[in-house]
Subunit: 194 residues, 2 copies
DNA sequence: GTCTATAGATAGATAGAC
DNA sequence: GTCTATCTATCTATAGAC
């Protein structure tokens, strides 16, 4: 299955380069030389640049879905699961400092390009939005679970953007602490209401 | 002063196109045809693409500085001034829905490109950061004025990014209301401490 | 100060040998 | 399935006529 291997290597390499340099700024030649194949071979696997973008987004969707499933398996209570989401900012801190959030920056770029795949990229946000909403509902906030999910997504996006701009680690740590404190208050209020 | 006019038209047009399509995706030809001049004439005013980017950032800096000065002239108390900042999200709502925040998206793109002008673009954030910090200090929070300024900047960035992605006006309105409520609490706490 | 013409590099994409 | 060679379009940038 050498074909399958090459295809996967192309997608993984494109995923990384699209994140680090941006979609528009990454050429077929960049990807081909990074994978170690010729441009001609490249076109045997993907006919257009749009095709590889779709494959990259699909891979990211799969990755993130596995991530949330792992959190569900490892953490039993919704608050701990949501904390795992917040911790992405710390776990991927160095990457975010250099290249921003891989979901937010891709979505923004595709929106500007008027690219058809923008809707697919937004699915990446929707995946976390829906998963977080489910956790907030279980935490005792079924009525405004979706609003809380969007609010947390929004805060993490803002933190990623400003950390990328200012590169101020103290700011990132404060934002993470603030989100966890906000989450703790929600959990405490929910317990008191019972 | 036909030269000066042409130069200004180039900068204004580039400013708009860089915002709507992104810096990398906008070519000299795009700018030249939008202005209504030839590509050759273009190079009489700007020798490289980097030069025009610097001019665009400088113009945005001037615009935003005038904006904050206008807010200072029109609003006497710091809380009203900070509210004017929050209101940008509503005033420019339609543009943000389609193209995101002009400062956040430019900074992110330049960071990915490893572009030298990224530092200049971050100055745009710093301008608002410093101005907001001054207002928070006057509001009675001199000790953590800069932290509060970054927190508000962060929230507005997150709101802009998610509004651009989901295009959900109700979400944007909720975020604006939440920021104003947070500001009101800060002002009330500051008054009580006196 | 504005234009046309064009260089030189690189982009996405294709054809065909092996 | 991988390669080389090549096409066409477009990009940034320059030269020189008017």
């Amino acid at each position: 299955m050498a074909q399958r291997d090459t295809r996967e290597r192309i997608v993984s390499t494109a995923d990384l380069l699209f994140y680090e340099r941006g979609y528009e700024a990454t050429s077929f030649g960049d990807i081909a030389s990074a994978v170690g194949i010729s441009r001609g071979n490249f076109y045997h696997h993907f006919k257009t640049k749009d095709e590889i973008l779709s494959a990259v987004i699909a891979q990211r969707l799969g990755d993130r879905q596995m991530m949330t499933q792992r959190w569900e398996a490892q953490e039993s209570d919704p608050r701990s699961r949501i904390e795992r989401f917040i911790d992405i900012l710390l776990v991927n801190g160095e990457k975010i400092r250099r290249h921003g959030c891989p979901i937010g920056t891709l979505t923004s770029e595709l929106a500007k390009l008027g690219h058809a795949a923008q809707a697919e990229a937004v699915h990446l946000f929707s995946l976390f939005r829906d998963w977080l909403a489910e956790q907030f509902a279980r935490l005792g906030r079924p009525a405004d679970a979706d609003e809380l999910a969007l609010e947390l997504l929004s805060r993490s996006q803002g933190a990623a953007t400003l950390y990328n701009a200012f590169q101020d680690r103290a700011f990132l740590d404060r934002e993470v602490a603030a989100m966890k404190h906000w989450l703790q208050q929600l959990a405490a209020d929910a317990s008191a209401a019972k």
